[in-house]
Structures are given as C-alpha cells and as structure tokens.
Amino acid sequence: MRESAPSTLVETQRLLWRLITAPEGVRPALEGEGDPEGLHLAAVIRGDARLSAVERLDVYANAYFFRILEVLAKDYPAIEATFGHDRFHDLVTAYLAAHPPTRFSIRYAGEGLAGFIADHADAAAVRDEFPWASDLAALEWAIIDAFDAEDAPHLTRDDLARIPPEGWGDLRFTLDPSVRLLRALWPVNRIREASDRGAPLPSVEREDTVILVWRKDERVFHRPLDRLEAACVGLVSEGATFGSVCERIALEVGESETPARALALLTAWIESGLLSSGV
C-alpha cells in the first residue's frame, strides 16, 4: 500500500507554490493569504538577520518567473520582437497566471500561449493591439514541435519508382510526423521570416494564409502554400488517395494540365522531405 504524503508537508508545499507563483509577488500574496505580517510564514520558513523569509522566497519567485520567461523568449522570438521586452514580460505574467506549467519538462511551458492569446479574457487588450499575435504564436509553436517530432524515413524518388505508375492513383501518402499545416487569418510567416533574419518586422494586413511547417535534416522550414497546394496537402493529411488529389488538381487546372502539375507537386514534396516512406 502506498503511503500518503504527510499532511503538514502537503500544506507547506501548496503554500510555497502559491507564494512563489503569485503574479503580484510574495509579500502582496501573503496579504491575500490573510498573513500580512508573515507570522504564519515565519512558522514555516526560517528568516534570519541577513534575509527574511519573504526575501528568501523572493529568490524562488524570481527564479520561477524569469526561468520560464527566458524559455518562452527563445520559443517565441517573433512574438517577443513584436511585443517588445516590457510587453512580453506582461504577456508572460498573464499567461503563467492562467496557465501554470503542468508538464514535467519546461520545453512544454509555452504550449498554451497561442490559445491564451486567442481566447482568454486577460488577453483581450493584446488581441485588440496585435490581432495577428495568436496566429504568430501558433506558427512559432509549430516550429518548436517540428524540431523534435518523431523521426520517420523519408519517401524517396526511388521508392516511388518501384511502384508502377498505374498504381499511383490508389496510393495513400503519409506526411512526415513533423509536418504541421496552419490555417491562419494573417500572413504571420512574413513576420517570423523577418525575425529570423534580424530584420525590422513588417506590418501585415489580414489575409487568409495556409502555412506549412516541417523538418528535414534536423532543420525546420516553413512556407506559405497557395490554395491548390494547401488543399492537396490537406487531402493527404486526411488519408485521401493520390487519385483524389489529382481530381482536386484537375478542378483547378483542367484535365490536360493535371499530370504535370501533380508530378511537380509530388516531386517537390519528396525533395522537401514532406512524405514518409510509410506509403
């Protein structure tokens, strides 16, 4: 039978968690705990002539916030560049209050940022000022996810050559596990590209944009897709046959142009490493 944790230890750890993560800081949080003089805290944490209990907890409170802030700044460089240092600090403060980390690795601390910006009441002002921010965060997170996505062998031209052409129509291609297809309301890929180059960030107008993110040879790429390619990649992701993809192409370019266009798309996908060999 597993022993349950000592109740005093449970209370202590939960109190310390509340104080360390309080967005307003340890001392204001103590007032919220009904302990404005820190008397209860003093019975838990030892203070001394050098540093009080509150000051010692401040060390942990600062470490908590600034460690995660640093990780999120690396995960979301274009968001940080868009907001600027102080506004990004405020964004992360609000985000952490709403989404304290729950996964064991700090690598996932930022996974809820796009959703927070898109939906949370505390992000309303952010949405007003930077209406593209949620899309940008979603793109930046997709890049993070692609970096350490599952490995799979890429489909090669030789693999395809082994299949008679008359059999291609029934093929169901498999996208590489790193592939992410983002349907954005804003062309945020241009913002991330500028951020990657260290260039001034462009202003953007609202424009429906499908952005493909994927990894090849340990590097992550992204590019916008035109309407046709976006539809075709979407079909592949849903498990459609290559024949169905060709039918979609034919709707756009006509029957006579379809074979060349389909082959060009397939070739580009293979060379980019978008398809895995699990055909």
């Binding site: 597993r2 022993e3 944790a5 000592p6 005093t8 230890l9 449970v10 202590t12 750890q13 939960r14 310390l16 968690w17 360390i20 993560t21 003093a42 019975a43 838990v44 944490i45 030892r46 050098r50 540093l51 209990a53 010692r56 907890l57 060390v59 942990y60 470490a63 908590y64 460690r67 995660i68 304290p100 980390p101 729950t102 996964r103 064991f104 690795s105 700090i106 690598r107 601390a109 970096f147 350490d148 996505a149 599952e150 490995d151 596990p177 790193s178 990894r215 340990e218």
Partner: protein
C-alpha cells in the same frame, strides 16, 4: 607499492573519470572528435528531459555520443520530495530512455519541483525532518523498483530553510541514502553554496556523507546575488570550490566527476581545461601514502553501433 583497498561500496559505480554535460552548442565539435576519442573528457552527462522527446536531433545526437562514450542520465523532474503522486508517465518515458541509452547510472535531485499537478521547474528543498525522510525513502524505493536499478540523488543548493527542521542537511541526505539504499550524487558546489547561505562549514557536510554511497561528484560555478550565493552554473568553478573538491577527493578517493555548466556555456576547450584540472587533483590526491592512486575499474564501455 601496494594497491589501495577498494572502499566497500554497496553498489557498483564504476570510475568513469571526468566528464562534462552534453550541450547542443558543442554537438558539432563532439561529433567530429568522438569517433577517434579525441576529446579531453571521459564521459558525458545528459539531461534526461532534453532527450525524452519524440525524435529529431537530440535523441540522435545522444545515440551518436553513446556509441563512443559512457553516458549518465541526470534528471530534474522526478520530484522525489513532492507530496504529489509519482509521475508514472515520466517514469515510463525515463525507463524507455534508459533502455535506449544504457547509462552508467541515473540520477535526479533530492528536492521537490511541483505540487498540485503544477510544476515550478525549480529545485526546492525539503524540510530536514524524520517525516520527510520516510516520505522520500518511500518514493525512491518505488522509483528504483520501477526502473530496476539504484538511482543517485543529488543535494540541491538552497536559499531558504524550514523552521521545523530536526537535523542538518548532511544527516538528512545520509539517512535518506542509507534507508532508501540509493546512491548520492554529491554536488560539491551546492554544498559550498548552501554552506554560505545557511552558515555552516562545508567540510563538515563532506565529512558526514557515507563514502560508500557516492556515485558521482558535480563541480560547477555560482554567482553572488546580494547576500546569497546562487547556484547558477554559469561561471567557472570558484577557487573555494576547487579546494572543497580536493577535500572531498581526499575523503572519497577517485569518484566520477562532472564539470557542470548550464548557462553562458563556454567553448568546449574551457570545459576540457576544467576537466583536466579535476583529473589532476584526483590523480594527485586520491592516494594513500605509499600506494598507487585508487581508481576502481575505469570503464569506458563504448557500445558498438
């Protein structure tokens, strides 16, 4: 010259020599030189959580290094001192990583990192009290049963202590290790930092740790922030910590030692220089008069692809 008596240890922790942390910044340098063994280090410590990802560069890099060097897995998320249940998903993923890497050993920290299902992503101290010992021992026992091996638990540096502590930290750490029958990863820098922050003599800590339990040392840098030393792992090892390390080697003999540098990471050559200095101390100090240096079984255990 007679060979020194090997210390009686209740487990096998081979002497690996002096290692450094495996860091993305150094991947190209390591990949180039690992096949010929032309790196001035003997082994690598990998942060477990960094390699508990679905795929991509990190696990591939770890495989490449492991093909040529021993690896130790060092985690920060086992949350051994927490009052939350042990994270079975984390332990399952760690078990899979262990099966893939075949590390010399696995370590984590004697601390808590989260409660109520939420993570602080920091290493917080546990009260040094009997109830905490029982709690930690119970959890370490279950982890060791799950992983099928002994783990080493590391002492953390701390910036606060608890009003209801019943014993000094060194007694707490020793008691946990003995009663859980686990190893100790003795972080010499953390001993020094905590000694300065809480006002005790670091040598007293070193001298109280059971020799037979120590799998490994950490050596790292720290920084001063106001009246406290903070375990930032972003500076060279300070001279006072080198002196404490020498004191430790005199007591423990040759123990696998890791140069730990987590932030503002320097060139690999600077880590190598630290490793060289640590090795020089071990080779000079880890002797008894008239006897050859004791180094146990030096195990490189390269693994064939």
């Amino acid at each position: 010259m007679t060979r020194p008596t090997r210390p009686t240890r209740s487990y096998e922790a081979p002497y690996l020599g002096v290692g450094v942390g495996l860091r993305p910044k150094h991947y190209p340098h390591i990949l180039e030189r690992a096949p010929t063994g032309d790196l001035g280090v003997d082994w690598f410590e990998a942060l477990s959580e960094n390699y508990m990802v679905p795929g991509g560069r990190p696990p591939r890099m770890l495989d490449s290094v492991r093909a040529h060097y021993p690896v130790v897995l060092h985690g920060v998320s086992m949350n051994l001192g927490s009052t939350d249940p042990l994270d079975d998903d984390y332990l399952d993923r760690l078990a899979r990583l262990i099966a893939r890497v075949e590390p010399a050993w696995v370590s984590d920290h004697l601390c808590w990192t989260g409660v109520g299902g939420r993570q602080l992503h920091d290493l917080l101290p546990i009260p040094f009290a009997e109830e905490s010992i029982r709690h930690a021992v119970s959890r370490i026992a279950r982890v060791q049963e799950r992983l099928g091996r002994r783990i080493a638990v590391e002492n953390v540096s701390s910036y606060m202590s608890f009003a209801r502590e019943e014993m000094p930290e060194w007694e707490f750490l020793a008691a946990v290790a003995e009663r859980a029958d686990c190893g100790i990863l003795l972080d010499v820098n953390n001993v020094y930092v905590s000694a300065r922050n809480h006002g005790f003599k670091p040598e007293r800590y070193i001298d109280a740790i059971p020799v037979a339990r120590v799998f490994q040392f950490h050596l790292a840098g720290h920084s001063e922030q106001g009246l406290l030393l903070i375990d930032t792992h972003d500076h060279p090892v300070k001279e006072e910590v080198w002196a404490l390390f020498e004191h430790a080697v005199r007591r423990f003999g040759a123990v696998s030692t890791l140069i730990e540098w987590d932030d503002q990471i320097p060139s690999f050559e600077i880590l190598e220089a630290h490793a060289t200095r640590a090795r020089e101390i071990i080779e000079r100090v880890a002797t008894r008069e008239g006897e050859a240096p004791w180094e146990g079984e030096r195990s490189r255990e390269p693994r064939s692809p």
